[in-house]
């Protein structure tokens, strides 16, 4: 039975999320080192994490006539979105917020990234940055509806919008097993809203970093950390939504939550290196013509199952 | 925090939106005024649900209708603005007076 933790747990959530994100970043660095042919050492894994104090102390760039309010606000919104989305994720038997509309809250908080990245792209008064922000909006229009229908499919399977209820409704069979299309679309959308992997188009190398082009110092750290926090929050949310939450035979519930989250994170981090970057305008047609009918049909499956039960 | 205060906020948003819808020249800015008016309607409908009739779902349905009206208005408004922009390269309502006698 998942219970709600006391109010101070709201401060613990960013720390736990950051710990998992750091593990993901370290794993990604190790994979990068292996792909480059360098030996796998602890220094390779700690490389990006050692960037953190350097970025914190680094000088913040400014451009000519930026919209400073929107720029800084946009950059801050991305990690804030990740942390807010993680508030409803249960860790074992404990969750920071047991709100009855947890799935919709998660969706709303990851949509904040739209606002954040558009503002971060616009505020810098730089062409490449603006193009990056617009690329994310184009990508957002493509991934958002399939993601919403995938979340609706999971909620319909449990007949509840409460994340704890969805985790509890999978005691017989995980949703990932009998709703595979929703699960796969959800995982792809996690890459999309954290603009990593095949969806790194807004921060692409052809734009000199896109939204990251004009950022340095603590702003760059905030946006880069925001990407990985969003990825971790998405991976963490996949566990109660599709993988049964903290249930499992031998270990306690929090251990199973951690193991499953790390497994999903490992899959996302490993597979992101295998796929090329998708252009948002080409992906948009795929998303609207193929994925939306697929996920709408997928959302019909739990509805029919509930009707005939 | 009473019904009158919520309705006063709704009336204020409605009035600000009305000012914008009547005084702005650009189609998109007029739409912003309309959105603010619908924002007021949403707040008022929710306040009525809470303070007058919480046992019926009709207040919530009114909120849903207002939100859908907002989405429809935005979609149609931007389509019209795009069409006018394609035809005349401007976005101002003063240039769209073809039906005026």
């Amino acid at each position: 039975m998942i219970t709600s933790a006391p109010l101070w747990s709201v401060l613990v959530v960013p720390a736990v999320l950051a710990a998992f994100a750091a593990a993901a970043v370290a794993a990604d660095a190790l994979l990068a080192a292996r792909a480059a042919g360098r030996p796998l050492r602890a220094a390779a894994a700690a490389g990006p994490l050692a960037e953190v104090p350097r970025l914190l102390a680094g000088q913040r760039r400014t451009t000519l006539a930026p919209d400073a309010l929107l720029w800084r606000l946009g950059v801050l919104t991305v990690p804030a979105a990740g942390v807010l989305a993680a508030l409803v994720i249960p860790f074992g038997d404990v969750t920071a917020s047991r709100m009855s509309v947890g799935v919709v809250w998660f969706n709303a908080m990851e949509v904040l990234t739209w606002a954040g990245l558009w503002m971060a792209g616009w505020g810098a008064n730089s062409a490449l940055s603006l193009v990056g922000g617009y690329r994310f909006v184009a990508q957002g229009l493509a991934y958002e509806l399939p993601l919403m229908f995938a979340l609706i499919a999971a909620a319909a399977g449990a007949q509840s919008l409460n994340v704890a209820d969805i985790a509890g409704a999978q005691s017989h069979l995980w949703f990932a097993v009998w709703m595979p299309a929703a699960f796969i679309v959800y995982l792809v959308s996690v890459w999309a809203f954290s603009f990593l992997g095949p969806f790194a188009y807004p921060a692409g190398r052809d734009l000199a970093g896109g939204v990251l082009a004009e950022l340095s110092g603590v702003d760059r750290l905030a946006l880069e950390a925001g990407r990985w926090l969003l990825l971790t929050a998405g991976a963490g949310m996949a566990v109660p939504l599709f993988l049964g939450g903290g249930t499992g035979p031998a270990l306690p519930a929090w251990a199973w939550s951690a193991v499953k989250t790390l497994a999903v994170l490992a899959l996302l981090v490993w597979a992101r290196r295998r796929l090329p970057v998708l252009r948002a305008d080409r992906y948009a047609e795929l998303a609207w013509v193929v994925l939306i009918p697929l996920t709408v049909g997928q959302a019909l499956v739990p509805a029919l199952v509930d009707l005939t039960r | 925090m009473s019904l009158q205060l919520f309705l006063l906020l709704a009336a204020g948003l409605f009035a600000i939106g009305l000012y914008g819808a009547l005084s702005q020249q650009s189609i998109v800015m007029i739409m912003m005024g309309l959105e603010l008016m619908l924002n007021g309607v949403i707040g008022a409908a929710a306040a009525f649900w809470h303070y007058v009739a919480p046992a019926a779902g009709d207040g919530q349905v009114l909120v849903v209708v207002a939100v859908v009206a907002m989405a429809v208005e935005m979609a149609a408004g931007f389509a019209v603005a795009t069409a006018i922009f394609r035809a005349r390269d401007v976005d101002m309502t003063d240039m769209a007076a073809d039906l005026k006698r």
Binding site: L70, L112 | L5, S23, G43, V80
Partner: protein, 186 residues
Amino acid sequence: MTAVVFWVLAPLAAASGFMVFRFASMARVTIALLVSFLATGGLLIVLGLGYLGVVVILMMVMEMIIMAVFMIAYMMNPAGLISMTMDHNKRGALAISVTSFLLLGAGIFAVPWPRRAGARPADPTFQLGKALMTTQMLTMITLAFVLFATMVAAVVLATGRGRYDRFGDDLKRRPAAGPVRGGVGR
């Protein structure tokens, strides 16, 4: 507690709504409108409509960013760096708006509002769903048709290409010609 939240969110909604018509930069105008909507979403949550409040927040963030894209595209002065006024009949509009606010305010305080009839349900979300599916099914169907008609009408109005541009003069060219080859190869 809820009173404190109300007195923070309600002036925020009104003030940011007012700032929509004061800012010169179109991006800030859109973000001000977004803040106004987020405040209304918060007020809905305070009133106990958790689902509708979060849905308003979700939809309004998406809609405002799409609106921002259009505003920057169509407005003459998107960044507000050149000062220009783009309104007509300001005094008339102000008079009408103030009059309507005073009339509404008078009505708000003069009307004897009915007393609360019935208690709050345990699950307002379920009440909404049940109402939309049973007693308000006609509303639901009407909304569905209106949304569908809007989708079709918006695409028809906004597109600059027709069948003959896409499929050639004999309507036989496949895949369709267009500025971007889509990912599905249609």
